[in-house]
Symmetry: C2
Subunit: 241 residues, 2 copies
């Protein structure tokens, strides 16, 4: 099976959750825009290509289908890459967890862009400081506490009793938060021991370790979803917090 | 099959997307919290019940499973209620569209709560005015334009060539926006003729018409996701827009 992944160049973004699954499974895939440029994406968004029309990247082209929405792509890939347990109930549980991760990812994005995703961070910085404070104080403890509890209840090794795309996405979530909100994550560390160990185990999986050491793994940066602005992490930028 | 739906009383909320599917199909279901109170929800969120632990309502209990996340619930119900086309490709396309609706629903929620969902609207009103202006001017035209184009391309009657839970959710989306943003929707009307006709057709489906006329259909109100605040709709509350 050959997979074509379409996602904006220059950032990890939501495409990274799909990329980690493809890399972990050693799948044969092309990261199309990185080879052909971002212009390769537009014809799909414009409806000029066959198949389901995506609203936005990431989307995957495989088996003559276009599959969009990161959680939907992982739901499609799970059985094909042996990254989800057998059976409908387990697949629904995986999708539910992935959608909850997606909800948190949106909240993390909105912590630096609470007003308008198309406007500059600098033009919504005051609102961002308020939203990021709420994220740090309320939303991160609630979401990460939930994942920690589900992981602990499942035995601590895997959130679904065996390796899955959800474990890979939790790795990415924790890594992204470590980059964007290091102070907040330091404070939360005692509350999420199983998530921390899961993150470390995923990083040591041979295909993931090779990927992380490769040029294909872009660094986190302040163009992506996870952005490090010290003033949003409870640090100071000269004004009061 | 007997379904138990769990969702907060007093609002339509995200539970309404599930409720419309159950009602349209004439399914045998219990709206548990409306009979037993919101306290019936907590044991599931606390992990005191068997099955997958939900992060938040809505969730459905059926066939010994707990299924959470509205789009995931509809993905589960689709084949059981004959509300999705046959075949994996069509089911993935339905889920992709539903997840795109869910993304817009989150943006609509955040238009009145851009800073913190647990704080009062009045305490984030200035940020809400800015975010709502962006929603009206950029996000709604983009999302609704997308759904309109996909619907038109599919022939205009159904977004998936036949009746599905996605059509029901598009009805709810348009109705909710008509309530919350009547001025913005008036402006957008010429751009979304197929969506408007779809909304009218869904309202006339016998089971939906009966449901909308029943006491089970709560009115939209300013506690839910779709909230009508004239000042967010480009109206005036005494200050400049």
């Amino acid at each position: 099976m050959q997979y074509q992944l379409y996602y904006w160049t220059g950032i990890q973004g939501r495409g990274e959750f799909v990329r980690l699954a493809l890399e972990d499974a050693g799948a044969d895939y092309t990261d199309v825009a990185r080879e052909a440029g971002d212009d390769a994406i537009a014809p799909f968004l414009d409806g000029a290509r066959d198949g389901a029309r995506p609203f936005a990247p990431p989307f995957l082209v495989a088996e003559g289908q276009v599959v969009a929405q990161a959680a939907n792509i992982l739901h499609f890939l799970g059985p094909r890459l042996d990254l989800v347990p057998e059976g409908e109930a387990a697949r629904l549980q995986a999708l539910q967890l992935q959608l909850t991760i997606a909800d948190l990812v949106t909240e993390i994005h909105d912590s630096h862009h609470p007003i308008a995703s198309a406007e500059y961070y600098e033009d919504q910085k005051d609102a961002a400081r308020r939203r990021a404070a709420d994220l740090r104080q309320h939303r991160l403890p609630k979401f990460l506490g939930y994942f920690e509890q589900v992981l602990a209840r499942a035995g601590g090794q895997h959130i679904l009793h065996r390796h899955s795309y959800v474990d890979l996405s939790l790795f990415q979530l924790v890594r992204g938060l470590d980059y964007a909100y290091p102070r907040a994550m330091q404070t939360l560390a005692p509350k999420i021991p199983h998530l921390r160990k899961l993150e470390a185990r995923i990083a040591e999986r041979p295909n993931i370790a090779a990927y992380l050491a490769s040029e294909r793994r872009l660094a986190f940066n302040t163009q992506g979803i996870f952005r490090h602005y010290p003033e949003l992490d409870g640090g100071t930028d000269g004004s009061e917090d």
